[in-house]
């Protein structure tokens, strides 16, 4: 497992977690973790629910105190600082917009608390509203907005403060698929144009792959792997990482290794192949065409994604050869 400290781009460090650990009622929910996040980086904490990713985010925001360890923000030790003294903002999972304030007043709230001069408040509100395309809705109340619009307000309210870091706790979790896809692209765009560090929590691996510079894969309070989307997909280090991101074939022989379905080739000829098996299922999804093959003399199935130019006829029950290249085997730890 790598605990990367520098991604080699020579950027300034924004957040440093040093051996941060969190227990609830004596039970560890976050095992000792060290992690650095660069200025302007889009880092995603990815994992199933209960893996500790939200706890890490809440510790960075200041809503939880680490049991041990130090959290630094832009060089300063903020471990003991309350949330209102930290120069970062959190976009809450269910937005937590103030119901008795208009969109504009919600955005203004943070500026008012920080006693920003009135003129600058106006400019920053306008900018945040423009960036999140809320101009037409500025005078509305949260209950008059759709889920996607409320989400935009939550982001506008956070970025108006010009935080050093924006923390996002499953910000798209409550939205339907189509809207999620649009907002993912919008968020990524926004992050690039603002140049702010984003720390993003999600359980959706596709979302993590699409948006992140680096992904921290977590399971039961432990970091499984940290790496770029390409790293974690092509070079998973643990069994969990190999199966949580994308589909994978697991082989448990003298060692544990995985082969991605798109690296598995299927041939009607049975000679000179690694394995043979019987086609169990054919899955056609338009852009993806998959075969599920039950291996002979082994209790496992293998999935193969066919080349989209593949025009051969396959039928369930057909006996086929299964093959892959040695370099596509990825050895993983447990």
């Amino acid at each position: 497992m790598t605990l990367s400290t520098d991604n080699g781009k020579g950027l300034m460090l924004m957040i440093r977690l040093e051996n941060v650990e969190k227990h609830f009622a004596g039970q560890p929910v976050v095992h000792p973790l060290s992690l650095t996040i660069d200025e302007g980086e889009f880092l995603t904490l990815l994992g199933p629910s209960g893996c500790g990713k939200t706890t890490i985010l809440r510790m960075i925001a200041g809503f939880e105190q680490p049991t041990t360890g130090i959290i630094r923000l832009d060089g300063e030790d903020v471990t003991q600082l309350p949330p209102n003294k930290r120069n970062l903002n959190l976009v809450f999972q269910h937005y937590a917009l103030f119901p008795h304030m208009t969109v504009e007043q919600n955005i203004q709230f943070g500026l008012k608390m920080k006693k920003v001069p009135a003129k600058e408040q106006r400019e920053r509100i306008d900018e945040a509203i423009r960036l999140t395309q809320l101009t037409a809705l500025a005078k509305r109340y949260p209950h008059q907005l759709s889920g996607g619009q409320q989400q935009r307000v939550a982001i506008a309210r956070a970025i108006a403060n010009k935080p050093k870091v924006l923390l996002l706790d499953e910000p798209l979790g409550a939205l339907d698929l189509q809207l999620r896809k649009n907002l993912q692209a919008e968020l990524k765009q926004l992050q690039r144009s603002l140049g702010i560090t984003f720390v993003y929590v999600t359980h959706d691996q596709e979302e993590a792959m699409m948006m992140s510079d680096r992904i921290v894969i977590m399971n039961t309070g432990k970091v499984e792997q940290i790496g770029s989307p390409r790293d974690v997909y092509e070079r998973p280090e643990t069994l969990f990482a190999a199966t949580f991101i994308g589909e994978n074939n697991i082989f448990h022989e003298e060692r544990l290794f995985t082969v991605r379905p798109e690296k598995v080739r299927v041939t009607p000829e049975l000679a000179d192949t690694r394995k043979t098996g019987i086609i169990q299922d054919i899955v056609y999804l338009g852009n993806v065409h998959k075969l599920v093959i039950h291996l002979e003399n082994e209790p496992t199935s293998v999935t193969s994604v066919l080349d989209f130019t593949d025009q051969r006829d396959w039928s369930i029950g057909q006996k086929v050869g299964v093959h892959w290249n040695l370099q596509d085997e990825v050895t993983v730890g447990r």
Partner: protein, 284 residues
Amino acid sequence: MNKRSFGVLAPVVLWLSFFMVIPMLAVIFVSFMQRDNLGNIVWTFSLDNYARFFEPLYLGIYWDTIWLSVLTTVFCLLLSYPLAYYMTTLGPKAQKFWLIGITVPFWINFLIRTYAWIILLRTQGVVNSLLMDIGLISEPLQMLYTQGAVLLGMVYTFIPYMVLPIYVSLEQMDKRLLEASSDLGASRWRSFWHITLPQTKSGMMTGSVLVFVTTTGMFVVADILGGAKSQMISNIIQNQFLGARDWPFGSALSVIFVISSLVIIGLFNRALRSSYDSSKEAKA
């Protein structure tokens, strides 16, 4: 209204008309009548009863009543909010304990509870003895049969009506709003002022209306703790029906009081809502 919904509503309408509308109409009707020397109702129309209300004696008592009710409401609000807030900061067990503690007095007869205050407040009462024993005063204080005693009794009686709605609205408030406010740089005090207080307005509203309305209609406390000196409009009304046997005048006072209570509640509602609206418009 279609036939079916009328069918559903019929029992409610009947119930209301029997216990509310018909008695109210009877009171309104009687208020325009006259009485003879023996106290019988004379069935001739007259506005005299309403004119009599504007005599200084009754106007004075009317204003005293309103003033006392306003004071009671304000004191209840000021005392109840911190208590309700404190309760919500406790664990579930302690909260239950406090809730029971607040409702226990309801199980004891109201008159007995009010008489208990006499034991505390009278010249040779518990409070005076205590103060004299520790040498703070040499002469007993006159506490019973004052306006202050009535106010104290009222506040004591009606505090639960204020605590419970405020407690409920505090409990129902989305606590994540406070996290959001803290995240946006607000101290605990400013979070309370800008988020908690506006978010619990409905509870304060409900409590205030409950306390105000019941205080204006309450005559027992003034009777027991206020003595002969302090009279509330309800004491006068009660007296017209039971002592003076002037039902038409008592009815007229009742009608005036119901109308003025409605007006005051309406104004109160309006004031709270418009303070909201004007703050909205100011930013617009």
